[in-house]
Symmetry: C2
Subunit: 450 residues, 2 copies
């Protein structure tokens, strides 16, 4: 059980091989029980629709709420309203790193989340909302939290506030942290945790639905284990100054006007006692679940989840000048309704194709069809990965890396620019620059051992 | 007259010596007329107090408004309300750089602003609100604007969105740009403009009230003329990762809750027809002026200005390991009511001492008394500089750099950290990290020729 101290079973607390990982992970699934039951929103224990605003909220005032937002992206798109998750508190997503015989390992956790398609995925050492770690829900203490809150030991490798899904959250951020502890520090490995080597972690990122979103966003900062300050990148097409100027231009030119509105003023969505859904069945549904778990801080709870309709496509087009050079990625300055500062750096493609089915062709996202029709020899990464199972129900996206041929047009739409993996990683550490799906994909594409 | 094309007078469009600058600057003052007359707010042409909210606004809906804000910084300080300037549009502050015989020069402008104590100060090449350059006020075109809007020529040296005074503006930002044009590009020098060498500019920054705030904030990015990417800094006490972690900790721990309120709900302030002022005469006053100018885009206009009560003290404590090493500056993670993201990197001291006169000693800002009582031999910079004369009336601050002795305590309050000038400059380019007074002082302290 979580919180019950160190593990005995013969010191096999480190994993380096996929087979050993699979065995341990299967045990974790078998050892613990977890039951997720759909319930109507108006029967969710502890949650209620506010009589005045229609907002869905918890009686404690904590966790998060489902409210409405009215937004406009300038004249062409016009204004719309939609439900959105409001979660102002900043949680901690933290990974402990320690070297064994010089090789770095990450302390990862097999964690069940109610929205996961496969119940169990690999989580960071700490994945805690502020409500979690300040004990709003009166659960057990969060293991290893002491390594991530001041005053703490260990070297900060990566520590920044990072955005999450801008279509579903309003300006939500979590604190992403990687802390390296000295090789001689004894860290008891609790039940459900393992030290996982970087090469194993890298191979697990290529398996569908194993490494969860919270892990991926934190791992996007792992290159800073080696790079204290990024040097000039010889294989880049643009200098840092040029990229920053392109980004500032995008932030200055795009218009994102928005205001929070009560959920009962959202138009085009049906708010039934059972669920909240778009009247054409598009975008997403908000539904309710009861959860029973044997290995979580709280044994039983209820919560709403946002269930996207249809699988998304998230991919970078890439190229390189020669096989030894770093990949260049085609980055898009993208606005989403909840983006905290107008645009962030996003993959070339980041959309749910189904949402465009009823729209004229001119609305179809640039490069989507190009990416989906690329020959297999050009597809260097193609994995289905899940978004956060604590808020989203069965939210899977197909993540891709697709190489373009030499005759790919030089001329790009204004909101796109080529940058190297190193350059994009360099922007991650400052926060507020690279969106969650770009960070997630970057984690999958980076050779940490280079 | 502005917009009338190139200058004749013998090609003396470059200045390298203080005496020649003084002569030219005096001519500019003599050649142009400028009259600023105080008028009651309720007689300001084109401006009115909204009947419902009490907010002070322009009839066009453009420019800016004076509204109210209610804020709280957590339990100890408690909540308060105050007037605040709301200006959502992003203006451009841009400096053109060109080399003559290899030496870089900045194209600067002698500009009159209604709030300046001395009428005329040295401005960037372009200093334009969006209302200016999109011609909301139907004035003349903004000279040199074409170098700062896409599509444009020239190399972007520095281009980022930067905050302004957080005590007076709500989350206001301007786009700060330095564009270098090729040495062989012919740039006609218009009336009121001069190419100014970096060494002259550096000496002018040491003269009271000459180089205006807009110039200083842009000049904080001038080191990127040479540094494409900042290398590791040998004279630093902390790595970039450690500083970012300290900053993220401050952003996560500080609480800044605020909401806009109608100006007529602001408590403790008198809103008369003449002016808006604090009932104890503290903080600032909002007053009105009529302006007549011979050399501005518009010949005559009226506007409100914010007049701070008392002169501020803005200073870095500094140290260095040896005389060849870079200065280390003691940086404070400071919250101001209008700071867009909770805290920004600020000088060691940034306050108006008079505002603390009636408060208990424990409220007195750390290091203020230390800084004001330092022996003259430790004071490396001490100049009175003005804040933006287009919004603020006679807003002067004393800017200081004060060296601490070797026995200065190692132990610091948690929101303070030592970083080198190079490190602090490195954060400037990402925006949203370094506040306006820190950037302003940094511009004064940096040896651009090193």
């Amino acid at each position: 059980m979580t919180g019950s101290g160190t593990r005995a079973e013969g010191g096999r607390t480190r994993l380096t091989e996929p087979a050993a990982f699979r065995e341990w992970f299967a045990e974790q699934g078998a050892d613990n029980t977890y039951r997720v039951t759909r319930v109507p929103l108006d029967e969710l224990d502890g949650w209620h629709f506010d009589a005045t605003t229609g907002n869905l909220a918890h009686r404690s005032g904590g966790f998060y709420t489902i409210e409405g937002i009215e937004a406009s992206l300038g004249e062409e798109v016009g204004a719309w309203t939609q439900p959105i998750i409001i979660q102002n508190e900043i949680g901690i997503l933290g990974i402990l790193v320690k070297r064994f015989g010089g090789e770095p390992y990450c302390l990862m956790q097999a964690k069940m989340e109610p929205g996961n398609v496969n119940t169990l995925q690999l989580s960071p050492t700490v994945q805690a909302t502020r409500s979690n770690y300040t004990r709003v829900h009166r659960g057990n203490a969060v293991p290893y939290l002491e390594y991530f809150v001041a005053p703490r030991r260990g070297r900060p490798v990566f520590d920044s506030l990072q955005s999450e899904q801008g279509s579903w959250f309003l300006a939500k951020r979590n604190r992403n942290m990687i802390i390296e502890v000295p090789e001689d520090e004894d860290i008891p490995v609790q039940e459900g945790f393992r030290w996982i080597s970087l090469s194993l972690l890298r191979s697990l990122l290529r398996v569908d639905n194993v490494v969860n979103m919270d892990s991926r966003t934190v791992l996007s900062g792992l290159p800073f284990l080696y790079d204290h300050d990024a040097p000039t990148d010889e294989s880049a097409s643009h200098t840092t100054a040029e990229i920053l100027s392109w980004f500032t231009e995008a932030r200055s030119n795009h218009v994102l006007e928005r205001r929070r509105v009560p959920l009962n003023q959202v138009k085009g969505w049906n708010r039934g006692p059972e669920r909240i859904e778009h009247e054409r069945g598009a975008f997403f549904t908000v539904l309710g679940v009861d959860v029973e778990a044997s290995n979580r801080e709280v044994a039983r709870w209820s919560q709403p989840l946002l269930a996207p309709v249809g699988r998304g496509v998230i991919g970078f087009l890439c190229r390189r000048t020669d096989p030894d050079a770093d990949w260049q990625l085609l980055v898009h300055a993208q606005t989403e309704v909840g983006t905290s500062d107008v645009v962030e750096m996003s993959p070339t493609v980041n959309c749910v194709p189904g949402n465009y089915a009823h729209l004229p062709d001119r609305w179809r996202p640039p490069f989507l069809d190009y990416m989906l029709s690329a020959p297999p020899s050009c597809v260097h990464f193609d994995t289905v990965l899940s978004e956060e199972g604590g808020r989203f129900h069965h939210a899977e996206n197909r993540y891709l890396l697709v190489e373009v041929p030499d005759d790919f047009p030089d001329r790009l739409p204004g909101d796109y620019i080529w940058m190297t993996r190193r350059q994009l990683t360099g922007f991650v550490r400052y926060g507020n620059h690279v969106n969650v799906v770009a960070r997630s994909l970057l984690a999958c594409l980076t050779d940490w051992d280079r």
